[in-house]
């Protein structure tokens, strides 16, 4: 069985990540899938390469999952991020949350992806017509 928190080059499958979480008694499962878009900031995108500081990224995901459990009434949470070269349409990140009720599940899922984007030591390089560029997201 896969881990709850995972950063690796393996392709992501939303049902596989959702299957990781324990959900007996939970009336709500919320999943978020982030996918590679074919456009960004006015440019056509052909693919994206993700790079992670693996050890620290896992520490950060662990902290985010613990915070989500503390802040929201959830039963379980899984966060998987993919690294390496991805094509348009590929899933880069999946967050899955189980809770008794949907409010907490939605809130925790939103929290997890928002915090991951702010804090995880992961970077992306976009490949397009004119070449490639490391994206530097600004809040």
């Amino acid at each position: 069985m896969k881990q709850h928190l995972h950063v690796s080059a393996e392709p992501l499958s939303e049902p596989e990540v959702a299957a990781v979480i324990e959900a007996p008694g939970c009336g709500a499962i919320v999943t978020f899938v982030g996918r590679v878009r074919d456009r960004a900031r006015g440019r056509a995108v052909q693919g994206i390469e993700y790079e992670a500081y693996d050890e620290m990224a896992l520490d950060v995901l662990r902290a985010i999952a613990a915070e989500a459990r503390a802040k929201f009434a959830i039963a379980d949470i899984a966060i998987h991020h993919r690294t390496g070269r991805l094509a348009v349409g590929d899933a880069s990140v999946v967050v899955a949350v189980a809770a008794e009720h949907r409010g907490a599940a939605f809130d925790a899922c939103r929290y997890a992806i928002d915090e991951l984007k702010k804090r995880a030591p992961i970077w992306k390089k976009e490949f397009g017509e004119g070449g490639s560029v490391w994206v530097e997201d600004r809040p």
Binding site: Y53, V93, K117, P121, W123, K124, W134, V135, D137
Partner: protein, 81 residues
């Protein structure tokens, strides 16, 4: 003391290496590791002000004291998810 500096993304490309062992004097701080890396790999200089630092996998302010064997990671602005 011996420090391992880790490079990622645009900075890994600018330095041409993923990691570099460097020697720093006792009492050195995280900012000194960044400075030593920029001296060795001048391509890092331009991005130095936008670089966050992690010491042993924890975000650390530039004045964080270093110890022998510490790992200092130079972190460009993150873009995960």
């Amino acid at each position: 003391m011996r420090i391992i500096v880790r490079f990622f993304a645009s900075q890994r490309e600018a330095a041409g290496v993923e990691r570099q062992e460097i020697e720093l004097p006792d009492g050195a701080r995280a900012a000194d590791a960044l400075e030593a890396a920029a001296r060795r790999y001048p391509g890092l200089r331009a991005a130095a002000s936008a670089t966050a630092l992690a010491v042993n996998r924890d975000l650390a302010p530039p004045d964080t004291k270093l110890h022998d064997g510490d790992e200092v990671a130079l972190l460009p602005p993150v873009a995960g998810g």
